[in-house]
Symmetry: C2
Subunit: 312 residues, 2 copies
Amino acid sequence: MTTVLAIGTYSETDRAALERDLSPVFANGPGDIAALPGEQRQQITALAFTGHQRLGSAEMGLLPNLGLIANYGVGYDAIDVAAASDRGIKVTNTPDVLTDDVADLAVALLIAQGRQMLPAAEWVSTGNWAARGSFGLARKISGGRAGIVGLGRIGRAIANRLAGFDMEIDYTSRREKETPGWTYHADPVSLARAVDYLIVALVGGPETEGHVSKEVLAALGPRGIIVNISRGSTIDEAALLDALESGAIAGAGLDVFLNEPNIDPRFLKLSNVVLQPHQGSATVETRAAMGQLQRDNISAFLNGDALLTPVN
Amino acid sequence: MTTVLAIGTYSETDRAALERDLSPVFANGPGDIAALPGEQRQQITALAFTGHQRLGSAEMGLLPNLGLIANYGVGYDAIDVAAASDRGIKVTNTPDVLTDDVADLAVALLIAQGRQMLPAAEWVSTGNWAARGSFGLARKISGGRAGIVGLGRIGRAIANRLAGFDMEIDYTSRREKETPGWTYHADPVSLARAVDYLIVALVGGPETEGHVSKEVLAALGPRGIIVNISRGSTIDEAALLDALESGAIAGAGLDVFLNEPNIDPRFLKLSNVVLQPHQGSATVETRAAMGQLQRDNISAFLNGDALLTPVN
């Protein structure tokens, strides 16, 4: 009897491991649940979930015996957790295993933007270096003041790395936290005003939507660089595009966008950005660890053991 | 009376500052010294130097009253320091002020190579993300073992940064140094065998030529990534190209090459490299500090004060 439904696109490795360990039914997205035979839907007790399509109360209602949604990824903003809780459905995610990768990319995005590494690489590959001489001067990154927006696991990992670059660390968070002398700001405008770089490491979802507002970007100012490795929704994207186009901020390193992968074409016309295709956790090592943790949560649930990384 | 000769290409800012502070004669390269009038050559006591063309004993001999060569840059391998010493000529460089920038670039080169940031950026800019889906998986960088070849100021700054990425640090150097628990290797083959990443931070010049040899590259192995921010000469470049082409090592992040800017065209055909146009210290802030330190050394010499950063 099939009790597990796997929703979303899995790598070959993860798909094979799911089949081996849990023999699930596969579906492309939440919209495909309704098309499953009623008897099959009755049998599903656990759901392996990946992707950014909304999994809401209506979809959960189609699986009357569902007890677990095991998300692949630390961000579970696609899942209506409140609705799940109301229905007695537990939600798990895959924290910690991806923290390092996301923090690495955040640091590299900051340096790559400030040091103009992409146009500098193009200067070499096009032969301009030999034909036209030196590339020109970029901007020093070490020694600046870094503002972390959201000091959770990933924000803290970024701050720890940047501290090694002789940076003073400021942060904003729901409440002040235990830190090695980092400066707390209650509101993001105050944070943005104090720093050279703003690194956004918030959770996604409605409560952080547009948290980095037009006012925050104005406070960051024309020398400011913004890095976002969280969710496109955490920044007012229209205001960000305006600020990048007008020079109201200096530049951005972005791994996340609204409407991925169909991102706003205005981004592609900018020369002061480094754009990545939401690859924060996209390493062989980390994706393997994420898949393992997702399956381990499902196995724990099916065996009646304690969940490893519960969300609700 | 003009007592200062400025050799090489200076930025507008540096040229203006040189003129303001030291009223020098300008020449493009060491090869132009001979063309200066004999009387002018007699008067020159200090030389502001930048560039990678050889400044040897013969050129020094054309300036009989030369007492100082003030190099712009930390690496002074273009200058025959032994010949200068023999002639009683002091040499200065510009250490420390560029350490941070070079170390920043080294870290970013490592992450950019491992995380495939350039092809990932192209995946976005070409519209492949929207048209063809996810970019694919790269390689985790945090938590690896890093080998620093040459633990001088810059090597140490790189190691300090990488330690913040949960990396174990190994190094090789002329002798074992005081470190926070980093592992010393007497020879670079042993170092390369022990680590995942090899970051070359040697001084240039004949004594380090080809220090990273074919054997070192073989010991680094097919999962190894090499980063070079020192001088092209420190690596056996033909062996490096062979290793990159054959997959004997995984990839490289390179800011320096033999025969810059006319680099070997084999580099441009590789897909496992991140290439930069020798921009390690090329930031507005650092180049200003380097120019200031060069001029301060010359002023100190002309005033009979102690040199700030003597080499010999």
